[in-house]
């Protein structure tokens, strides 16, 4: 039998960084292969090579259904070579109907074909047949945005499976690979079974599946084999039935588990395990909002509290909820002398209370690339540059130039547009903006994302200094090396809750294995509860 997908020696470097170091993957017909690995292990790079987004280095080889595919994979032609992708964001148009989303691929016509009439009655009927075939309960006329997240995920998978079915019709009913990139992270635990059923139905007729996930219980449920990546290398290719969760976590983290310790650490969440001192500057009680579903914790003056969790664990929403930027949040929050419900906070109020937020999405939320460095850096302190009713742009620029030197922003010319700076230097501008306010609380979300190594160290130093001056710092990141370096204390986050705490000594490997263990345990409990 010809494998559905056979990749050999796929490699990719970004500058000096080797993201993927010559990896082989094989997926048999009807086989589900899980692709495991922590953030930065090369999973996304591999998927992006398959989608044609990245060009792999010469020497790689990709065969689909026995047929060689040119590399890089021709963009937008994945369907023709037998690949179908479902990403975590699903790629659905929420304002349109189910049937319109389902057949969107048929609309990519040219010329007069675009003016051909669409028989909506027949299309809906066809959609109903398709849903019946896959055992999915969806109404073709429903508006996609109003469906439950699980139904939306099912629709996206059915759409991809249909693309593969069409491919197989043209290829003697052979081949086809469905690539699912983290499809379960945002789904409720007890509804994931629908998704597993659907994936089984898809593989029953022949296509293979590459299942990219952090979710150990999901992997165990549907994957036959697991390929584990670590630092761009494949460190394991195991039959899932033959290994335990602990084995998989060991492979992912590269850390030999002290299993008893893991049991203890994940036994019961309590953040008083590790000794802390200083006044409480930031506290939250049963905080909810976004994917945060009831978190209680406290951060002390001078403390850097690390939040470790996988994608969708709720940690990534926490800074924004605390900053008062997530509508519908609830829970009691204490910031310095202020105390009250988090719904009473807005970004402007938080800033007045001395809170800073460094968002992960720098381009969208952190900076305005088309404005000068000076304005970006001092946007929160404009008032202090008013002299006799005039905003003194010269003083603003002079101060910004000084700060640019202080924070080693290169080039140190604050009159440039921010877009002229590299990512690391842009981030320094963001930090300079907040440090100008001498914040007592700093909420950091992936603060060194897209930042070069040298700048990273500078940012660490700035934050250590700020903490030493008495600020409370909440540090949310999936870069566990960074957490190990920076955090005084680490809380483990899973399913929107604080699921445990870790004491030192910290290392990336230990954090990774504890996070995975906690998440797997949380998923197990939730399934039982449902």
């Amino acid at each position: 039998m010809v494998p559905a997908l056979e990749a050999k020696n796929l490699a990719k470097s970004f500058g000096a960084f080797r993201a993927l170091g010559g990896v082989d993957v094989t997926i048999g017909a009807g086989e589900v292969v899980a692709l495991l690995g922590e953030n930065g292990s090369g999973k996304s790079t591999l998927v992006k090579i398959l989608s044609g987004y990245h060009e792999p280095e010469p020497g790689g080889e990709l065969r689909l259904n026995g047929v060689g595919v040119p590399l890089p994979v021709p963009l937008n032609r994945a369907r023709e070579v037998g690949l179908a992708f479902v990403y975590q964001d699903l790629g659905l148009a929420g304002d349109l109907q189910v049937v319109e989303n389902l057949f969107v691929g048929h609309r990519a016509t040219r010329g007069l074909g675009s003016a051909a009439p669409i028989n909506w009655h027949a299309e809906r009927k066809r959609a109903r047949q398709i849903f019946e075939h896959y055992g999915v309960d969806l109404d073709p006329s429903a508006q996609v945005g109003r469906l439950r997240p699980t139904s939306q995920a099912l629709l996206a998978i059915v759409r991809a499976a249909e693309e593969l079915r069409e491919y197989r019709q043209q290829n003697e009913e052979r081949g086809g690979v469905l690539i699912l990139d983290e499809p379960t992270v945002f789904l409720p635990e007890h509804e994931k079974v629908f998704l597993f059923d659907l994936v089984r139905r898809v593989t029953d007729v022949g296509p293979g599946v590459l299942f990219v996930s952090h979710d150990m219980s999901a992997v165990r449920e549907i994957a036959h084999r697991a390929a584990v990546l670590r630092d761009g290398e494949k460190v394991g290719d195991v039959v899932v039935e033959d290994v335990s969760d602990a084995d998989l976590i060991e492979l992912v983290s590269g850390h030999r588990l002290d299993r008893a310790a893991i049991e203890r650490a994940t036994g019961q969440g309590s953040d008083t395990d590790v000794g802390v001192s200083g006044d409480v500057v930031l506290a939250a009680k049963d905080l909810r909002g976004g994917r945060v579903r009831g978190m209680t914790f406290a951060v002390h003056a001078g403390e850097i509290l690390g939040i470790a969790g996988l994608l969708g664990s709720g940690g990534d929403d926490l800074p924004y909820v605390l900053f008062g930027d997530v509508a519908g949040s609830s829970g009691e929050v204490t910031v310095g002398d202020w105390s009250g419900d988090v719904s009473g906070l807005t970004p402007s109020k938080s800033i007045k209370l001395g809170v800073s937020l460094v968002p992960a999405d720098r381009q969208q939320q952190g900076v305005v690339p088309d404005l000068q460095v000076s304005l970006n850096m001092l946007s929160l302190s404009l008032r202090s540059f008013m002299r006799g009713g005039f905003l003194r742009l010269d003083k603003l620029l002079a101060t910004a130039n000084e700060r640019a030197v202080t924070y080693d922003v290169r080039p140190p010319d604050a009159s440039l547009n921010l877009a002229a700076l590299s990512g690391g230097n842009q981030q320094k501008v963001v930090l300079a903006r907040w440090l100008e306010r001498s914040p007592t609380v700093m909420l950091l979300h992936e603060p060194t994302q897209g930042v070069d190594v040298a700048t990273r160290q500078q940012i660490y130093e700035l934050m250590r200094t700020r903490a030493a001056e008495g600020a409370a710092i909440l540090w949310v990141t999936t870069d566990f090396d960074e957490l190990a370096t920076m955090a005084h204390r680490i809380l483990l986050c899973a399913g929107g809750r604080i699921a445990g705490a870790m004491g030192p000594p910290y290392s990336r490997d230990r954090i990774t294995s504890e996070v995975y263990s906690t998440t797997a345990r949380g998923a197990g409990e939730a399934t039982v509860a449902a």
Binding site: G15, T346, S348, V368, D370, M386, L391
Partner: protein
């Protein structure tokens, strides 16, 4: 695992090339830089335009009286163009300003003539009308978070409807001559005073946009609502106040229009296109790439001189439509090209 032969030696330690600080640019290179050239295109075109008309019609065009006419008659456009600056900087289109101006004209005239109100209270009512119209726009757009383009198109139609309704679709003539005295009859430095009103408002907008925290915050709102929000700016109230301000300034232009014409005719103004042309044309000069008051002022009179010269050459009135439309297209495309070129040079600098 793969049998990948290690083709390359171990990669060198990650390096971060220190960016070269820019050398101090000489004055000469500053003057002849692309940026300066870009900024002076409109003034150069302006001078050429005046020279060309002066050459073609030296007897009529090059008269001081012709220039005072241009200055006096175009204060309405100047003021109305100013009303657009803050909403546009915020990234919001306001298509109702010309109708607010028209409604205010009619309202002031109607109160003064038909209802025998004194001029002062009529003018105050007119300003109040502008504030109310702007408040309505701002409230609907911000409170319901709806598209300003379509809402101001709709409210503009409402304002226009009221302007027709008030005087029963008739022209209201016989406004107190005091208003005319204080717009086009009295001169200051040999130029009708309404021109100076326009200049005052232009300077005020320049101050507001360039020298206040309000103006700088508007820049952020226009560039990225998310960044502005997370910087603690009250995005909603900034946008709201911009619409209110736009309504107020638009009503001032309506009152000046009453003074210039001595009467008010509902639906007479076809001002919207010309003021948009001016604002986008203004974006290509003084502070290229930004909506700016001085550039807009220059552009208003560039357009006015163009129309005036064509009239003196005997062009038909429809030529105005062609001229305004063509200029708006050219201005929008030019400002887009300026911004794109900037982005490209910024991207080059970043690498």
């Amino acid at each position: 695992m793969s049998t990948d032969e290690p083709a390359q030696p171990a990669p060198p330690a990650p390096q971060t090339a220190p960016a070269k600080p820019r050398g101090v640019r000489s004055w000469a290179s500053r003057i002849f830089s692309a940026r300066t050239l870009e900024a002076s295109l409109l003034p150069i075109a302006f001078v050429l335009l005046i020279a060309a008309f002066g050459h073609a019609r030296p007897d009529t065009f090059f008269q001081w009286s012709n220039f005072t006419t241009i200055f006096g008659l175009n204060a309405v456009q100047l003021v109305l163009a100013m009303s657009l600056l803050v909403p546009l900087t915020n990234g919001d289109l306001d298509l109702s300003v010309a109708e607010i101006s028209g409604l205010t004209s009619v309202l002031v005239a109607w109160l003064n003539v038909n209802h025998h109100w004194a001029l002062g209270p009529s003018i105050l009512a007119g300003l109040g009308c502008g504030l109310a119209c702007g408040t309505l726009n701002g409230w609907i757009i911000v409170h319901f978070d709806v598209n300003p383009f379509i809402i101001t198109l709709a409210t503009g139609s409402i304002f226009s409807g009221i302007a027709f309704w008030l005087p029963n679709q008739l022209t209201v003539a016989g406004i107190s001559t005091k208003l005319t005295d204080w717009t086009v009859i009295h001169h200051f430095l040999s130029i009708p005073v309404d021109f100076w009103y326009g200049v005052a408002i232009m300077l005020l907008m320049w101050y507001l946009l360039t020298f206040t925290a309000f103006g700088q915050r508007a820049l952020f709102v226009g560039q990225s609502r998310q960044v502005a929000r997370l910087s603690g700016f009250r995005v909603g109230s900034i946008r709201f106040s911009a619409f209110v301000l736009a309504g107020l300034i638009a009503s001032i232009s309506g009152i000046i229009n009453d003074g210039v014409l001595g009467s008010a005719t509902p639906g007479s103004g076809n001002l919207l296109l010309s003021v948009y042309a001016a604002v986008f044309l203004g974006m290509t000069t003084i502070q290229p790439g930004r909506f700016n008051a001085i550039g807009t002022g220059v552009a208003v009179f560039f357009l006015a001189v163009g129309v005036n010269g064509m009239n003196l050459l005997g062009a038909q009135t429809y030529v105005q439509s062609l001229f305004y439309g063509a200029i708006l297209v050219v201005a929008v495309v030019a400002s887009r090209l300026i911004n794109r070129r900037r982005a490209a040079s910024a991207a080059r600098a970043a690498t």
